[in-house]
């Protein structure tokens, strides 16, 4: 049989804005039309829009695919289409095997029932048989860590406990295809890690995983392949680091266009041979060039130079560099072309550079550019972590006694 577990073939899905029906006059014809024709036609009527536009992708059996994109990109719609909650207007979707969705975990819980009863109920909602749940009951409770409260109605649970129980049930379904939508945002750190671990074990155990998240770090841990959706279309798909680079760039580009006031402009990132570059290898030398036009004496200013990891906004470094030596005091007219060299002692990942100009006497920022530049670090070895400390391994034969 085919190795393709999930196939999206030129799928279109439209939604309607506003209330469904304005008047009785368009209600009856619309209703009859929906019932008779199934409302499958591919044309947009007034107030309709495409939430998913001509999206095609395939996921192989046992592969984990991350889906990223800004809010309203159609990520959740794609998952709902896959789980058959929504039906496409055009195109076809094929899913091989049992599908389980971790979309809004605990959706099937009833507040008046106890944790125990809800495990049975939610298990059935997720497609498990009674015997199956009975068999997995103890592991589920153990995973949730709620042994003490299992006979308490879930309405007395905290939202974290609620989510933990929900995830625990859903994580024990043993699906062939698992859809995950932003569930890691619940629970404490420890539980989040547990969830990620569980999903990793799913992925390793041959389950096909589709993971929608804004947590880029989690996506990159879990998924070797990622799809980037924006405005209902598939903008990029491929190895996670490449796609993430694409995504972060598009987000940052749309983030804040530097206004006229900003005294720092046109930042460019160059390599040693002064070529524009975006991909570095660890330890490589980099030059950042930009122009600056401050209206205050330079000796009163500091240049902020910040590198952040794009996936989780972690500050990698934050320097404040004095500017006094750049120009004799008293003079301050005209543009100043600046160059800043630094060493990319970083490991695999996507990074952004932020620049700002700080005026000490007034304690004000004269301007921020975020991002001033964008780069990624790639290496062929499977190095993990953040900093490149350039380890060197040496050995010497010890002299025998």
């Amino acid at each position: 049989m085919s190795e393709i577990a999930v196939e999206f073939d030129r799928v279109w899905k439209k939604f309607r804005k506003g209330e469904s029906f304005d008047s009785l006059r368009d209600l009856i014809p619309a209703m009859t039309k929906r019932l008779l024709s199934g409302d499958r036609d591919g044309d947009l009527r007034p107030r309709e829009f495409w939430a998913v536009k001509d999206v095609s992708f395939q996921v192989k059996r046992g592969e984990a695919l991350g889906i990223i994109g800004p809010n309203g990109a159609g990520k959740s719609t794609v998952l709902k289409l896959l789980s058959k909650i929504l039906r496409p207007n055009k195109g076809s979707i094929h899913v091989q095997g049992r599908l389980s969705a971790l979309i809004e975990i605990g959706a099937g819980f009833h507040p008046d029932l106890t944790g125990r009863e809800n495990i049975y109920l939610n298990g059935a909602i997720l497609g498990m048989t009674r015997e199956e749940i009975k068999r997995k009951f103890d592991p589920i409770v153990e995973f949730s860590g709620l042994e003490e409260f299992i006979d308490t109605p879930v309405k007395r649970y905290s939202s974290g406990m609620y989510a933990r129980l929900g995830f625990s049930v859903a994580a024990h379904v043993d699906p062939d295809v698992l859809l995950v939508d932003e569930v890691l945002s619940v629970g404490d750190m420890q539980f989040q890690e547990k969830c990620l671990e569980k999903m990793l074990s799913f992925a390793k155990g041959g389950t096909t995983v589709l993971f929608v998240s804004h947590n880029l770090a989690a996506v990159s841990t879990l998924c070797p392949q990622t799809a980037f959706l924006s405005g209902g279309t598939l903008r990029a798909m491929g190895p996670t680091s490449n796609v993430m680079t694409e995504y972060v760039r598009s987000v940052q580009a749309g983030d804040s266009a530097p206004s006229e006031e900003v005294p720092i402009r046109t930042a460019r990132l160059l390599d040693e041979s002064m070529e524009t570059i975006e991909r570095f290898s660890p330890g490589q030398k980099a030059y950042l060039t930009f122009s600056m036009k401050p209206d205050v004496p330079l000796e009163e200013c500091l240049l902020g130079f910040i590198i952040r990891r794009a996936t989780d906004d972690l500050p990698v470094c934050d320097y404040n560099l004095p500017l006094a030596h750049l120009r004799p005091s008293g003079q301050h007219a005209g543009d100043l072309q600046c160059g800043l060299s630094f060493q990319v002692n970083l490991l695999r990942g996507a990074y952004i550079i932020v620049l700002h100009l700080y005026h000490c006497p007034t304690a004000k920022f004269l301007g921020w550019i975020r991002p001033a530049a964008f780069f990624s670090v790639e290496e062929t070895a499977s190095w993990q972590g953040l900093a490149h400390v350039n380890p060197l391994l040496i050995a010497r034969e010890s002299e025998g006694e």
């Binding site: 058959k84 899913v95 029932l113 497609g127």
Partner: protein, 272 residues
């Protein structure tokens, strides 16, 4: 491609297969309905008796009024008749009421998790069937007290009950579906259920209306209730003609309702 493909909806066989696949869910949802209905209540299952008992009390009162006018005193057999008919009526009212709001009341499930949506109205009906069963015990006691005895015609009863359930299921599915798109349905149903008892032979018998009897029997529920009274209390076979009429309503209604429900199902999540 094999399993898991999105099938074109409207395929009856596929629907039945899928519903069978989710039979555990149907069972669990029914169990949940029953369980939560009496949770945190002092009276518990007694509530299952209250509604039919009130209907019976009202019926006895009205029959008493008839009796005063017509000089024919109410006997225990009349009370038994009212009981036998009040119970299915209470089931019908409860089941229709619950199934009408079964989809809208579970909107988080309808929009979040996939499974055949039929399980909502069906489990609502089944949960009320449970109440029906609980209350039946009391009716049996009344029947014993009234010394109505047992006739061979009682063998009709299972068929009558099945028809009643199918009639309710069909209507319940249709109304659940309608209420999802237009919340007006819920209010219309409330009004119809409140006054429906006057247009259904619960407190009286259809034949008491003389030549107007057929009008009342057009209500597909009426011949079923009359037939139950016939086979349980009066020990005589039901009126075959009218029973056939009701049966066709039950069967055809159920099939059509399922078809409509199935057709509309794909539009549920975005219209709820």
């Amino acid at each position: 491609m094999a399993t898991g493909d999105i099938v074109e909806k409207g395929d009856m066989k596929e629907s039945i297969r899928e519903l069978f696949e989710y039979r555990h869910l149907l069972f669990m949802l029914t169990w949940k309905e029953i369980r939560i209905r009496y949770k945190q209540t002092i009276m518990g299952f007694f509530w299952a008796l209250l509604m039919p008992m009130l209907i019976v009390a009202a019926g006895v009162l009205i029959r008493q009024a008839f009796a005063l006018v017509s000089d024919q005193p109410v006997n225990l057999r009349d009370v038994a008749s009212i009981c036998v008919k009040a119970l299915p009526w209470a089931f019908f009212v409860g089941a229709i009421r619950f199934s009408t709001s079964s989809l809208t009341g579970n909107s988080n499930l309808v929009t979040k998790i996939y499974f055949p949506r039929e399980v909502f109205p069906v489990s609502a009906v089944l949960a009320n069937l449970f109440d029906f069963a609980v209350a039946s015990v009391v009716v049996v006691v009344v029947l014993i007290l009234a010394r109505t005895g047992l006739g061979v015609d009682i063998l009709w009863l299972p068929l009558l009950l099945v028809l009643l359930v199918f009639l309710t299921l069909g209507l319940g599915m249709l109304l659940a579906c309608g209420n999802l798109f237009f919340r007006d349905v819920k209010y219309i149903v409330e009004v119809l259920l409140t006054f429906g008892i006057f247009f259904t032979p619960v407190f009286y018998e259809a034949k008491m209306l003389g030549k107007w009897a057929p009008v009342i029997l057009l209500n597909p529920l009426a011949p079923l209730l009359e037939a139950m009274n016939d086979v349980i209390v009066l020990h005589r076979p039901p009126d075959y003609g009218w029973l056939g009429y009701s049966a066709s309503w039950a069967v055809l209604g159920f099939l059509i309702a399922w078809k409509v429900f199935d057709r509309a199902e794909s539009a549920f999540a975005e219209n709820i």
